[in-house]
């Protein structure tokens, strides 16, 4: 109980700090943190499916793209206000995942991961070739009707709210029916069916919820950047990045994916500014080291009370 209170207190302080942060920081830091929150949202959204049910949706970036394009197109062609377009974009992702999920989630393990990548590539090709998205030309969204500093703050708090929202959703899921269903499915699908869990339904639901928040992040991204084209919003690299964040932070935990997002984004920013030419190499090496020493992520390392022995045990288990 004391542990729980301590966690809530810590969380509260962290949130307060992040609320006041942009009023003290320069626009460079505000922009960097908006990016971190975006990846935090994406990682947490995917964590809902990946962390609890063990399925790895490599192509989840497809919802990022759909969210971005849907928001952009409804604003441009139909003149919808941003927030309505954004919510609609997320909802379209939810429905899309729900429809596609029923056949695709019958696949297991790697086959599911590959199928989601296939879907992502297929949607990218469609977006490149239909008229409504203006294909490879890309889409210019309306400008934010705010002065520069205010627009920085606007997107900072927008992304921040999205991250907090998806984290609350994840927390709620973990304590409720859906969370237990998913954890039972991850551990043992046959056993789960035998105690009355409608396994396909819960997997699809988890994917759809994760799609909704991924779509939200995409919609905000589109308005923030002001310009989107298929290669940038349907980039599998984005998926890979947030999946690394989940693994690094700790899949199936609430705070893990967010820690992963902070770590990777800050690290890549530092590495990029210090080692301009080999920054990807340095980043890769650091990730390899982290995975060797703590394959279950930061949260696991914290739970082991930062013991060095536990780190070495992982190295031995990895037969290195």
């Amino acid at each position: 109980m004391i542990e729980k209170r301590k966690n809530i207190l810590l969380f509260g302080i962290l949130i307060l700090a992040l609320v006041f942060f942009p009023f003290l920081a320069t626009n460079y830091w505000i922009r960097l943190f908006t990016g971190i929150f975006m990846y935090g949202t994406l990682a947490q959204a995917t964590n809902i499916l990946m962390g609890f049910s063990g399925l790895v949706p490599f192509g989840n970036v497809v919802f990022f793209g759909i969210g971005a394009y849907f928001t952009g197109i409804t604003m441009l062609s139909l003149g919808f206000p941003f927030f309505i377009a954004l919510i609609l974009g997320g909802s379209v992702c939810f429905v899309f995942a729900f429809v596609v999920g029923h056949p695709v989630l019958k696949l297991k393990g790697h086959y599911f991961a590959i199928a989601t990548m296939g879907i992502s590539e297929a949607i990218k090709q469609i977006a490149t070739n239909v008229k409504i998205t203006r294909g490879g030309m890309g889409l210019n969204l309306p400008l934010v009707p705010l002065e520069v500093n205010a627009s920085y703050l606007f997107f900072y708090f927008l992304m921040f709210s999205a991250m907090i929202l998806v984290t609350i959703a994840t927390f709620w899921i973990s304590k409720n029916r859906v969370g237990y269903a998913l954890r039972a499915i991850m551990s043992n699908e046959d056993g789960a069916k035998s105690i009355g869990i409608n396994t396909p339904h819960y997997k699809v639901l988890a994917w759809a919820i994760s799609a909704f928040f991924t779509g939200l992040a995409g919609g905000i991204f589109a308005y923030w950047y002001g310009y989107i084209d298929p290669p940038s919003v349907f980039d599998i690299g984005i998926s890979v990045r947030f999946i690394i964040m989940i693994l690094l932070g700790g899949a199936g935990t609430i705070i893990g994916p967010l820690l992963g997002a902070f770590f990777i984004e800050l690290l890549s920013e530092t590495v990029w500014s210090q080692f301009l030419f080999i920054h990807l190499g340095v980043l890769g090496a650091i990730i390899v080291l982290v995975v060797i020493f703590m394959p279950k992520g930061f949260v696991w390392f914290y739970r082991q009370k930062f013991s060095l022995e536990a780190l070495m045990e992982n190295v031995r288990k990895g037969k290195l």
Partner: protein, 256 residues
């Protein structure tokens, strides 16, 4: 007696092999029915067919008068048929209490339950199965006897009318077997019908009101334990001469 589950002409084939062939028998409400037979005689297949893990190729299974062949396992569970697995299937990474609460949340009437009510029901089930003191243990730290007990607890959490136990006592020591038998009897007293698959003859014969014997997928005999142990065919195929002899001697010893 009221019929709870009626199996009619059920067959299940794996390729050319008939794992269950033209099986017909009824399970009556409130009884404990033993299901015995040599390895490969189709006991586990029959359980899988009843619970919907496998679809029967022929025949019909009626539960409380409703046809259940072709339904999904989770639907069948919610109708009131729960099972345990021969190879235990606990939810690793969750505590004993969480395992049980999952059963409470998704079993019969689980849909309308709030979390708080679900935890309370889970504690009741744990109490019934004498697992209260281990409720916060992770399942990977349990002994095999406790895991088997947890399997029963999980099944009971779904609030069944019919409980199918697939070798719940294999690998247990005599003391643990006695505990398991006590639990089964207690569950039966609550009005729950049980189908018990078991190789431990002493156990199955002592608690069952009737025993079904399968042999090579066929129904070989059905009757009270007393008639089964005297059945020539069953002795030849499964029990063996020695078992009958020992039973006889014990019986005579008791009389003396």
């Amino acid at each position: 007696m009221e019929v709870l589950l009626s199996i009619k002409n059920v067959s299940k084939y794996f390729g050319g092999l008939a794992a269950n062939k033209d099986l017909s028998f009824d399970i009556e409400k409130g009884e404990i029915i033993g299901l015995i037979g040599p390895n490969g005689s189709g006991k586990t297949t029959l359980i899988n067919v009843i619970t919907g893990n496998y679809a029967a190729d022929q025949g019909s299974i009626r539960f409380k008068g409703h046809e259940i062949v072709g339904l999904k396992p989770y639907t069948i569970n919610r109708l009131g048929i729960a099972r345990t697995y021969q190879v235990v299937q606990p939810f690793v990474g969750m505590s004993v209490r969480e395992n049980v609460v999952a059963g409470v949340l998704f079993g019969r009437d689980g849909k309308g339950r709030k979390m708080k009510a679900a935890w309370e029901k889970a504690d009741e089930v744990l109490e019934l199965c004498h697992m209260q003191e281990k409720k916060n243990e992770m399942v990977e730290n349990l002994t095999i006897a406790d895991v088997k007990r947890l399997e029963i607890a999980k099944a009971m959490a779904t609030d069944p009318d019919l409980l199918l136990l697939d070798e719940g006592m294999a690998g247990l020591n005599p003391k643990e077997i006695d505990d398991a038998l006590e639990l089964i009897t207690q569950i039966n007293k609550m009005g729950i019908t049980l189908l018990v698959v078991e190789h431990v003859m002493k156990a199955v014969m002592s608690i069952s009101q009737r025993v079904v014997v399968l042999h090579q997928g066929l129904l070989m005999a059905i009757g009270t334990p007393e008639t089964i142990v005297r059945d020539e065919q069953v002795i030849k195929a499964y029990l063996g001469e020695k078992y009958t002899l020992r039973q006889k001697n014990q019986g005579e010893a008791k009389r003396l």
